[in-house]
């Protein structure tokens, strides 16, 4: 029987084939067994809201497969995507640890499997498994470094074209597939969401992508974006 959303569902962490590649999940058997005992596995379609900025922390979500966008709102109500969470990340950890409202909202951008752990259970799990504490600290450190990279881009880039070029180059490095014509990217974000990643408007993103296309730096076909001019993008970037 096909699984919902064509996802390869893994209900048992102990049997997960990718566990060793994941920063948080790569723990010894006693901790993984304990984790299995407190988590609830669920599958979510694209566009599911996991938690909302300002909401009291209910617990953490371990992203097993799929991706989610983490967003925050400025005082003016403008939305900023602070991160696209990848498989293996623990979402909502800082709010859950501090016992303060979620600082960001989390929404799936593709069908995803998530393991939810209630706040009390997660805190008990950390308390009884030092390894889990260490792995959570490593994961939080990674998040902090990623947030600092975003701050650098938002704070130092001189133009919006530069911010967009930086974003495309990051995608090339992280998710790009090298082909004879250039680096191929599968873009799951709308122009509006790309705008929210670099702190600009949807209209500006559409105009800049058209400019890049006209200059033969990129080519776009549906959700596939081919970067043909990485050198040209590099030349635009100062951060």
């Amino acid at each position: 029987m096909p699984s919902p959303y064509n996802l390869e569902v893994q209900y048992n962490c102990n049997e997960c084939s990718v566990r060793a590649e994941r920063l948080f999940c790569n723990m010894g058997e006693p901790a993984v067994r304990a984790l299995d005992g407190v988590k609830f596995t669920s599958l979510y379609p694209k566009g599911s809201l996991l938690f909302v900025e300002g909401e009291d922390p209910r617990g953490v979500f371990i992203l097993c497969s799929g991706r989610a966008k983490l967003t925050t709102s400025s005082t003016e109500g403008k939305t900023l995507i602070v991160k696209i969470a990848e498989p293996g990340e623990v979402l909502g950890a800082s709010a859950t640890i501090l016992g303060r409202p979620y600082e960001v909202s989390a929404e799936t951008i593709e069908p995803s499997q998530l393991n939810f752990i209630k706040r009390d259970d997660f805190l008990k799990f950390l308390n009884s498994h030092l390894e889990a504490c260490m792995h959570t600290a490593q994961q939080l450190s990674e998040k902090y470094h990623a947030a600092q990279r975003e701050i650098r881009s938002l704070g130092l880039a001189q133009t919006t074209a530069e911010k967009l070029a930086r974003l495309l180059l990051d995608w090339c490095v992280n998710d790009g597939e090298t082909t004879v014509k250039g680096t191929r990217l599968k873009v799951l974000l709308t122009h509006e969401e790309i705008a929210q990643m670099i702190g600009t408007t949807r209209e500006t993103v559409t105009r800049l992508l058209s400019d890049f296309k006209r200059k033969k730096i990129i080519d776009v076909k549906g959700s596939t974006l081919l970067v043909m001019g990485r050198d040209e993008l590099e030349a635009m970037v100062s951060v």
Binding site: K78, I97, L98, M134, L140, A147, Q148, R152, L156, G199
Partner: protein, 156 residues
């Protein structure tokens, strides 16, 4: 607490004189104070530079430390500020990654420095400190989100 002052402009005081930094519990302060070496930093002095491997952690006891980010063209901007109770270099020591930014004293500051090996040794001896590490890192992440919100607000 061992004491070394880099400049006559800064007076290094013991914890009992400065009061407890707000983000650290008394237990953590006691554990850290046994190992830390107090250092005074006059305004503008550099604690560490972007790209350097972390030598250890800096517990800020007083003053404010600018975290400066550099562009390829050499343009540098202070985008985050750390103050008493925060620990600089913590994420780098935990992850083994180099510093993402440079740190310079915005005002005369006093820090307690703990070498990386001694700090990780302390965590092995007193694993209960990991909980405070998680809280501190979570607070640091929240500061970054605050900064991003303000940059978005100002930059559009």
């Amino acid at each position: 607490m061992q004491t070394s002052t880099r400049s006559g402009n800064v007076t290094v005081e013991s914890h009992s004189e400065t009061g407890s930094p707000s983000l650290l519990s008394e237990t953590v302060i006691r554990a850290l104070s046994k190992l830390e070496k107090a250092e005074g930093w006059p305004t503008g002095s550099i604690l560490f530079r972007e790209g350097e491997q972390a030598r250890g952690v800096y517990i800020i006891h007083s003053g404010e430390i600018d975290q400066l980010f550099s562009a390829r063209n050499g343009h540098t901007k202070p985008l985050l500020v750390a103050s008493a109770g925060q620990i600089l270099g913590l994420s780098c020591v935990v992850s083994g990654k180099p510093h993402n930014c440079s740190a310079t004293a915005r005002t005369p500051s006093v820090t307690g420095f703990i070498d990386k090996d001694r700090f990780t040794g302390l965590l092995q001896d007193q694993p209960e400190l990991w909980w405070s590490i998680l809280q501190l890192l979570s607070t640091d992440i929240n500061s970054c989100y605050d900064c991003m919100r303000s940059l978005t607000h100002n930059g559009r």
